[in-house]
């Protein structure tokens, strides 16, 4: 079987309206893929930065995959949350990105969005906070069933991922 190592970091997040952010991440693959070692999901620290430009997570990722097929190439999906001074959490954005297919080091910016709901919900959110969340988090990384959703842009998640491939050329796969 061909093998892939994904070695890197969730570096941080920029462009969100407030700071004190954290991020939940997970990895989604097709059926032919198997995780041999490493964590498949996690949650970063909460960063409340001194200079209010970027939140830094420095969250390590180290996953070892084995695969029998290319379909369902792994995707990383994220949820960015804001934690206020009372410890309440509020959803700030959803996003996903594919694990790069070419070996080497990649700096990735993952754009995020959040559902914005109806006019009433938007007004109540601007006064009270909170806001709509996805009932089915699969929608973060699937293209089906998105057509009824109304969303708005949020910030970016910054990743640095190193990809090591093994035995791809033995099977004639060109990456």
């Amino acid at each position: 079987m061909a093998e892939i190592h994904v070695i890197g970091q969730i570096v941080g997040a920029t462009g969100f309206p407030e700071h004190s952010l954290f991020c939940k991440w997970g990895i989604h693959t097709g059926g032919a893929w198997k995780i041999l070692a490493g964590l498949r999901e996690g949650q970063t620290q909460v960063d409340n930065p001194q200079n209010h430009q970027a939140a830094y997570f420095s969250h390590p990722i180290d996953i070892h995959f084995a695969t029998k097929g290319l379909q369902g190439w792994p995707k990383l999906h994220f949820q960015v949350w804001h934690q206020d001074s009372f410890g309440r959490n509020e959803l700030y954005g959803y996003g996903f990105c594919h694990v790069p297919t070419s070996p080497g080091i990649h700096n990735i910016e993952c754009p995020t969005w959040r559902p914005c709901g109806t006019f009433r919900e938007q007004v109540s959110q601007s006064f009270l906070g909170g806001g709509p969340q996805l009932k089915n988090p699969d929608m973060i990384y699937s293209g089906a069933d998105r057509y009824q959703l109304r969303t708005i842009a949020m910030g970016k998640i910054h990743l640095q991922l190193g990809i090591i491939l093994r035995n791809f050329d033995k099977y004639g796969i060109e990456c």
Binding site: P103, N167, K170
Partner: protein, 207 residues
């Protein structure tokens, strides 16, 4: 030579500089954190730098210029080494206090790499603790700095990021390709050079 399943990663680099807004007289420690299949064959796994003042110009830079020289050996890239840097300085009462933790992976491709590592310190969980920790000079810190290289159990920590450290790496590898590992795209690692490059006309020999 016996066929071995070991590859080597040589890291030569330095902790170059640091940027902090409000501190002075800082020193840093580093350690490498790596998985169970990895071993250091030569070099220092951890060390402590000198104490440096910040530069007396508008850059306000801390310069450590501190060497890193390590060779790793492993059978499996899982658990790839990470460099953990922690910076310390004296607080107003003259007590050694942590000023930041930071972590980065050793670059996985050969060549020269530069990393600007953000540093962060853990925060007190309440305002009262924040106050008492300031007066008693016992800021919260990690019992083992290696936790910043782990992905598990991070969700309970609240941190404040302050400052950066710049590190440069020069990475050389041995036997990665032999074991079937590709760390660079195939068009870069096996460059397709036309046969007539570097050969004078009429001198192409049949090999």
């Amino acid at each position: 030579m016996a066929t071995s399943s070991v590859f080597l990663v040589n890291v030569a680099g330095q902790i170059e500089t640091g940027e902090f807004q409000e501190f002075d007289d800082l020193y840093c420690k580093y350690c490498f954190v790596y998985g169970p299949d990895w071993l250091i064959t030569s070099g220092l796994e951890e060390s402590i730098s000198q104490i440096t003042k910040k530069s007396e110009d508008e850059r306000q830079l801390f310069c450590w210029n501190f060497p890193l020289d390590v060779t790793f050996k492993s059978t499996n890239p899982y658990g790839w080494p990470q460099l953990v840097i922690h910076v310390y300085g004296l607080d107003v009462f003259g007590v050694d206090t942590v000023r930041g933790y930071g972590v980065t992976h050793v670059p996985i491709t050969p060549g020269r790499h530069k990393r600007v590592i953000p540093l962060f310190v853990p925060e007190s969980s309440s305002t009262l603790q924040k106050l008492t920790s300031w007066f008693l000079s016992n800021r919260p810190e990690f019992v083992d700095p290696r936790v910043v290289a782990q992905g598990e159990g991070r969700d309970v920590t609240r941190v404040r990021s302050q400052g950066f450290v710049t590190v440069s790496f020069n990475v050389v590898m041995k036997d990665m390709k032999k074991l079937g590992y590709d760390v660079l795209p195939s068009d870069m690692s096996t460059v397709n050079v036309p046969e007539n490059v570097g050969v004078q006309q009429g001198q192409v020999s049949e090999a």
